[in-house]
């Protein structure tokens, strides 16, 4: 069973300015980080349970905490995976999803099964690859996109040269 109380409590402790401004000793700053990380674990379980009930499918949900540095073991190794995007805003949003990958050609399908335009770009700083596609998510709701590697198709990864490309 999941639990959001530990994260609630950690967030309450982190209201102190020491937690964000650098005005604490290093070992105290480390403890703030520890509390936050410990609180997130059971909250992930709670989110997974909620999504399973709402979507009607019990999945092995994964939360990639290192997406900001383009690291996600699932998307970088799996041949196919699902991307659930939850929109906490009270209006529909279109949002560009960026996921680190290791292959160059993917089919991305929206919740209706229609293929949506996608790109794989090379990150100049690391030569890593990132998959991009635009997701449309309803107000206070979620959309599930399916991503599948396409074997054998000509690589479509974009190089670093400043040249224009035809759209899909």
């Amino acid at each position: 069973s999941g639990d959001s109380a530990p994260l609630n409590e950690a967030m309450a402790v982190l209201q102190h300015h020491d937690a964000v401004s650098g005005t604490s000793r290093q070992h105290v700053a480390n403890d703030y980080a520890r509390q936050l990380a410990a609180g997130w674990g059971p909250c992930e379980v709670l989110l997974s349970n909620s999504l399973a009930r709402l979507s009607g499918s019990k999945e092995d949900f994964t939360y990639c905490r290192d997406l900001n540095i383009s690291v996600c073991p699932l998307t970088q190794t799996a041949k196919s995976f699902q991307v659930t995007i939850y929109n906490p805003l009270g209006r529909k949003v279109d949002w560009m999803v960026r996921l680190p990958v290791s292959e160059r050609v993917f089919d991305v399908r929206d919740p209706n099964g229609t293929i949506v335009p996608s790109d794989v770009v090379i990150l100049p700083s690391s030569d890593g690859l990132e998959l991009l596609f635009s997701a449309s998510v309803p107000a206070l709701g979620f959309s599930i996109y399916s991503v599948t590697q396409v074997p054998g198709r000509r690589p479509h990864a974009h190089s670093r040269q400043p040249r224009s490309q035809k759209s899909w």
Binding site: Q26, F61, P88, L132, V137
Partner: protein, 281 residues
């Protein structure tokens, strides 16, 4: 190429092909063109002087001189252009880089900066800023949101409730920026949205700066008992600034809606797929 720019249907950002710096921003929808030079600088932290023994530390921002030093006079650039994204990657130094990004349909320019680990082997504490310089005649005024409350007008070297004797021309004009800072000249407004609370200011007319990272070697004597100096080589910090150029009269619509999208950003959850049907029973 002599033309270094990225563009979607709403925004065009032009870069100097020689320095690699952002030099011009254009709102194509409203036909607004503003020269904007953006670069990274660092303030050398004070270790105390004849006027005061106060050093720059965790609580206290006190540079040892008014002018910051530029991180680099040019950036190594690389451009990525695809139908779904256009990016200019700027590498200023071994510890400072940035991606300037435009997605289709986006009405703002996204600057994703990566700073650190700040080198301090030279014995100087450093407080790193991103600064936007424009020609806007702002008459000493700029605007910040304070501690999550309403946006407040800030006036350089001035306090609304007492006669200020300004003794710290830089730090004395820094204010909290919780989600946005902007300048305007009555016609055009340049807004910078932040993804976290930062310190910010406008130390010259037409200029906006935000502090993105700091690493200091002295304790400021305000109770922490240790300098703001992480163990090991120091921290890497990555964050985003969203820049909007608008008419002053209509700018609030743009920055308020975009700030909502930032605060309540979509959350991504992944799954390998093929899960079993789930029934509440």
């Amino acid at each position: 190429s002599r033309v270094l720019d990225i563009q979607n249907e709403y925004i065009r950002a032009r870069f100097d092909p020689d320095t690699g710096f952002l030099v011009e921003l254009e709102n194509l929808e409203q036909n607004l063109l503003l020269p904007v030079r953006q670069a990274f600088y660092w303030y050398n932290a004070s270790v105390g002087n004849n006027l005061s023994t106060q050093v720059s530390g965790a609580y206290i921002f006190r540079p040892n001189r008014q002018e910051p030093l530029i991180v680099s006079h040019w950036a190594q650039t690389r451009v990525v252009k695809t139908p779904l994204v256009q990016e200019v990657h700027q590498n200023f130094s071994a510890w400072c880089s940035q991606v300037v990004r435009l997605y289709p349909g986006q009405r703002h320019l996204e600057l994703e900066w990566t700073v650190g680990p700040i080198p301090v082997g030279d014995g100087w504490g450093k407080e790193v800023i991103s600064r936007f310089d424009t020609v806007l005649e702002t008459k000493g005024l700029f605007y910040t949101d304070s501690n999550g409350r309403e946006i407040l007008e800030r006036r350089r070297d001035y306090r609304p409730t007492w006669k200020l004797n300004q003794t710290e021309p830089v730090a004395g004009n820094y204010y909290p920026v919780n989600s946005r800072i902007y300048i305007r000249d009555g016609h055009v407004q340049l807004t910078v949205l932040t993804d976290r609370s930062q310190g910010g200011s406008s130390l010259r007319d037409g200029s906006v700066e935000l502090m993105v990272h700091r690493r200091l070697l002295k304790d400021d004597g305000r109770g922490v008992g240790e300098p703001l100096l992480e163990e090991g080589s120091g921290l890497w910090v990555r964050g985003r600034h969203l820049v909007l150029l608008d008419k002053a009269q209509t700018a609030a619509t743009g920055h308020r809606l975009q700030a909502e999208k930032e605060v309540l950003a979509p959350q991504v959850v992944l799954a390998p797929g093929g899960g079993a049907p789930y029934h509440l029973g």
